[in-house]
Point group: C2
Chain length 218, copies 2
């Protein structure tokens, strides 16, 4: 398998964690989505993903080239085809709780603070306006996750087993720090993050461990 990835893309980071947890080897294909390069918008990439985003997982299926975008679609596919270790509980209700937490990050927060949206907001309202926007959308999601964790979390986001909810949480907390969000109100989420970050798969998938990582200040 090949993974079209950018070191600091949190959406791709989630997929790297799932691949590492399930022990699936893959080739890393770097796509520089930083605003100056925007390789995901180059013509050849339209064949890789017409939605012009990473991650994309690529493999051959019965001799046919498959390219799959959207981290959720990839994570659920890997869960179905590499079931061990499971990243969704067995019973429908806790599975639903995991998917709710996943989607608060995936559709409720990340799309509003990805590189292209922040760029657009900066154009409309300047750097300070964009900074305020980003902090607000992230804090808005973390508040909801912290509240849900009160009744649903154990050692991890839903009960005591690691799940996709944790896979989505950890990169989002990294972005929260990157954008200067005060994390002190989110004690439960921070405790879960510490437990997850101690696992090898999370460490391997970390942005700074990727071949295209750049040491930057912003």
């Amino acid at each position: 398998m090949k993974l079209h990835s950018y070191w600091r893309s949190t959406s791709t980071w989630r997929v790297r964690i799932v691949l590492a947890l399930k022990g699936v080897p893959y080739e890393y294909v770097a796509v520089n989505i930083s605003p100056a390069a925007s390789e995901q918008k180059l013509p050849h990439f339209a064949d890789v993903n017409p939605f012009k985003q990473v991650p994309v997982l690529e493999w051959e299926d019965s001799g046919k080239l498959v390219r799959l975008g959207q981290s959720i679609a990839i994570a659920e596919y890997l869960e179905e085809t590499y079931p061990e270790p499971p990243l969704l509980p067995r019973a429908p209700l806790p599975r639903a709780y995991v998917r709710q937490a996943v989607e608060i990050v995936n559709s409720g927060v990340q799309p509003l603070q990805n590189v292209s949206v922040i760029g657009a907001v900066r154009q409309m309202s300047g750097a300070s306006g964009a900074g305020k926007w980003t902090k607000e959308v992230i804090a808005n999601g973390l508040r909801a996750l912290e509240t849900l964790a009160r009744s649903r979390a154990g050692l991890f986001s839903v009960g005591d087993e690691l799940s996709l909810a944790d896979v989505y949480l950890v990169p989002q907390l990294y972005n929260a720090r990157r954008f200067g969000v005060d994390l002190s109100p989110y004690m439960r989420l921070s405790a879960i993050e510490s437990r997850a970050a101690a696992l090898d798969a999370f460490a391997q998938a970390h942005p700074m461990r990727q071949p295209d990582a750049v040491h930057v200040e912003d």
Copy 2:
């Protein structure tokens, strides 16, 4: 079951379609999320959904009150607990294609054109700026879906069977029209929409058929 709903919320519309397709009866609880009312931000609603959005599906599970937010979590839960008719294919690869199309709408388009984001963009760049923003984010998603449909669609978005991909597509196309997006480049999507719209479940779930529907111009 109770569904916390707003007639014109496309995220809730998706859930109404799934409930109708699977023949699950429910009580309709209207939540007025129009900017003037913003009932989802009132204190009591924080207990219903700490993320302050509709849809929320509510029911009793073994005597315990369950409230589940996020359309994807609800749709996947209903798929697992009311398997007929199936809204995901059986094989992992077409299932992944369905989830990819679903997420292009759910995380790639809708969050960028929901009522609160459009309101924020209008504050930053005025009504014409907000109109341009909305058209662009919707067209961006539809372009990708139309391209994917070339190789993956049959009578519906993925193959010849109705799936969640179609459940997510139809409300998004309604919003596209509402915001003045030219749909002529999306012939495959329009054909799929016509087939889906002819089904009773889609008609019953339509915004104008809901008890809180208001005849408005905008």
